[in-house]
């Protein structure tokens, strides 16, 4: 599904250059659950941003679903991202002025899905994350765990093939972190490709493969034996369409 070949990323501020990624090459197959770990500043989030096409590589090749991404115009990348990628962030990144329902609905609006279908889909996903009673609430009225569940719902409402999660449990306590990770595992079991950046070795161990990074480079890749996952109590049913 994903092929990176010698991808580098350089940030320039005035005359100062920062090499965030140095010739990173990796491949992620469809349906894999991959964790990316490493110390702060090693380039994990940068790599995730490039995978999600919200940042552009300075050099190298990135193929997603057999399409070359590097060099594509912004509009084309937006379309690719809209249809195939769902994002989950550490700080949730919900829009404060919109309700839970509206936050989840937003990707479908940009996909110009008809209203009736949109309504049904949002209700479906609200049920999946067990937040129907909170549909009319705003993010400020929710707990951290609930906000992250909304973020998860928003990420999957468009039925993306690829889910990118940047420290999804970073701002949560253990209980809620387990909850969220359980949801992500369920999504993975239902066929989504999941790439998760995490500091937590415990959560990284639950992935099928762990990529370790240091100073902008991939230093090791390995498959870890799967840890018995905590049940995902908030996921009511596993729809094949997720």
């Amino acid at each position: 599904m994903i092929r990176l070949s010698s991808v580098s990323k350089v940030y320039r501020v005035g005359s100062i250059e920062t090499q965030a990624l140095i010739e990173v090459s990796l491949a992620i197959e469809a349906g894999e659950f991959v964790a990316i770990t490493g110390p702060s500043g090693c380039g994990k989030s940068t790599l995730l941003n490039i995978l999600g096409m919200i940042d552009a590589a300075s050099a190298g090749s990135y193929r997603l679903l057999d399409q070359e991404v590097v060099g594509q115009p912004h509009a084309a990348l937006t379309e690719l991202r809209k249809r195939h990628v769902g994002f989950i962030f550490q700080s949730f990144n919900l829009i404060d002025e919109l309700t839970v329902y509206e936050n989840i609905e937003l990707p479908l609006l940009y996909q110009q899905m008809p209203r009736a279908r949109r309504r049904n889909r949002v209700r479906e996903v609200l049920e999946l994350v067990d937040l129907q009673p909170r549909a009319g609430h705003r993010p400020a009225q929710l707990s951290g765990g609930q906000q992250q569940r909304v973020a998860v719902a928003r990420a999957v409402v468009g039925d993306p093939q690829l889910i990118l999660a940047d420290e999804p449990t970073g701002n949560l306590d253990t209980h809620h972190g387990d909850e969220v990770l359980g949801m992500l595992e369920t999504l993975h079991r239902n066929g989504a490709t999941l790439v998760m950046v995490t500091h937590s070795q415990q959560y990284a161990a639950r992935a099928q493969r762990v990529i370790r990074m240091l100073d902008g480079r991939v230093v090791t890749e390995g498959t870890e034996p799967p840890v018995a996952s905590s049940p995902g109590p908030q996921v009511r049913s596993c729809s094949a369409t997720i």
Binding site: I54, F87, L98
Partner: protein
Amino acid sequence: MLRHYLSAALAQLRRFKLTTAINLACLALGLACVVLTLGTLSYLGHGDAAIGKAPRLFLITKDLYAKSQRAGFADEPRTGRDVGVFLRSDFPQLTAVVRRTAETQFPVSTGPTATFASVSFAEPGFLELFALPFLSGNAHEALSSPRSAVITARAADRLFSTRAVLGRKVRIAGREDVTITGVIGDIPRPTHLSFELLVSMDTLEAMRAAGNAPPVNPTFPLAPPMDAWAASECVTYVQLPADGSLTEAQFRTQLREFAERRVPKGPSFGLTVSFGLATVDRFYLDSVNSAFGGQTRTGLRVTTLAVVLACLVLLISCANYASLASALAVARTKEIGIRKIIGARRSQLILQHLLEAAMTGAIALLLVLGFSALLLPLVRKAGLDVGFELLMQPTMLGAMVLLVLAVAVVGGAYPAYVLSATHPADAIRGGGGVAGRFMPKVLAVAQFTAASFLLVTVAIIQHENSMLRRINFQGEPVLGLGASLTEAHLDFDRLRTRLLESSHIASVTGTWTPPINNFPPLQMLARSADVAAPRVSSVQSTVAYDFFPTLGIKLLAGRDFSREHGDDVTEGERDTWKHPAHIVIDAALARQLGWAHLEEAIGATLYLPAGFGLPPQPLQVIGVVQRRPLGFFGLGATSNFYFLNPAAAQFVTVRLVPGELPAGLADVESAWKSLAPDYPMGRQFFSETLEQMQRTLNSIGTAIGGLAVFALVIAALGLFGMAMHVSSRRMREIGIRKAVGAHTGQIVLMLLRDFSRPVIVANVIAAPLAFITGKLYLTLFVERVAITLLPFALSLIATLVVAWAVVLQQSLRAARVEPAEVLQNE
């Protein structure tokens, strides 16, 4: 999607309440200016809407350009009296060609006492074209009989103390008796008809035939036959044929050919005249536009100027919106970044923000309309017959929709562009919109530039107005008689002799034009006949004997005009002069022509330039007098010269003996009445006339001052909003500065200094613009102040004080932040 955009827009308005309030206030003010201007023009442009008019009715307009004066009038809705006669013969297919003279103040009397009334002479067909509100008399026949007149009810009350006046007689100009054949009620305003008496045209023709008709609104003196074409005596109405044999478009084309065919040409005359068509409802606006453009010698239309100024105010408001929205961009970066990550295209984000701006504009417009509805009763009480339906006309509604769109585009385009350019990865990392920090400053500079420009201009105007107060006749009992001697059928010498019989009258003189004149005749003078010789523009006056002592103008060199020198008198056209005309010049003209000592000018020859087919005309200087302007406007000239021609005296000036004013005034009245009992004598002291003019100038200064305050308020509101957001954005930096040792006072000073920069830059940009504008304004006047640094310094101080007052509270709030609070949240 549209619902989402609207709901997101409302959410943003609620989120930033103070910014929203500022934006609504500023946009409402700007929109109010435009709506008020458009509403006023719409009201004035629908003249005579309330009275019935004949179909296919137009009036003839005139374009007149005088090459030598480099001035002219365009679309003036008046023509010479003979134009209608030629139109009848050249266009027999026209259903009607009807003439009505422009309203003029005529002396009228119904008994022993004469007074003035607004009189218009009209052909009988006029009453077929307009359905006037007759209260008595027959509308179709009222002007058919000779020497007939229709009177307004108010004029009947004034002249007869009753409205039952059918069959009563009114004497016009002390000579012609007309019979009242109709009484009409008030014609609803706006209307182009302002007469009190509408008299049958045969009366005027009879007065002309007898050779004693007074001039009716003459333009500048011209030799016939051009007079017939260039004059502005009549409104000429035409009705196009019902069978379509002559359409409006065809008639317009043929009118151009008519002018080519009929208007005489002379290679050196320099006048061009052409004709056009206009609808009656545009009469008032066309008159005002034509007069303004002609008298300012710019061709500018008042309507255009008014709309431009109003749009300028709206532009400032939109700039304010753009500035605040751009400053807000930092606070919205994350939201925009998320939207982009989720899949929003740039065009969708731009549309979202344009809709936000449109929504703000629409709410502001609703506020304006609501406020207008509340003010309507007051407007009606002031005598303007307007209703809310004026604003509900299709053109006004269309204009309001366009205004909202304009606000969306002009105010919202830049913030939309800035916000939609947010880089999603930067947004997630917590970076700000780069362009969002620079543009608000640029816009703040633009707003303060407008405010500073207006403040400096107002300061110059007020300084000039106070300088003009020096032109006065305070304490001098100099009286101007308003009536023209020709109209009153008075001989100047006879009147003068009669007046000087009174011991309370010190001296009497006369002038060809009113002595206090805001549009004085100008002439170019040179010291050589050489066409390349430098010329000076000077005000030309034709006076009678004793002009200078009567007006208190001292003789400085040479001599005054003298009865002992018969050749001092200059009469007739210049091509008939047998010797160089004797003139007196003032000290200013002497200096402008290069004489350091005034005596050197005595006996010198000056030249009127060649023109109208005539060679340069020599003039001889016989005296130099003190410079004493008799009006405010010089239209470029700041000096005077004088011809002597007592026979041409039309307006009389009397100097009374001080301390004996009541007796002197009584003697003046008595002298006039003894010679012109049927012609009322208007009079006003020069000091009163000049005071009235001063009040007009003060009004202009006040109006521009109001605009300056307005612009400053909008700029201040914009700066307040910007300060609010900038301070929030700099909290972290302030926290760090305090953590490393900065005091609150130092932080406040730092912020005030930063907010002062755009204000200082604005003053620097505005200064040369205001200087040029001030200089141009001052060229209109005969006395001019020097433009010093003072108005610029005052503007700088005023704008800085306002800016500091506005940002101080925000700066203090930011400076008092606890470092731990800010840095911990980071």
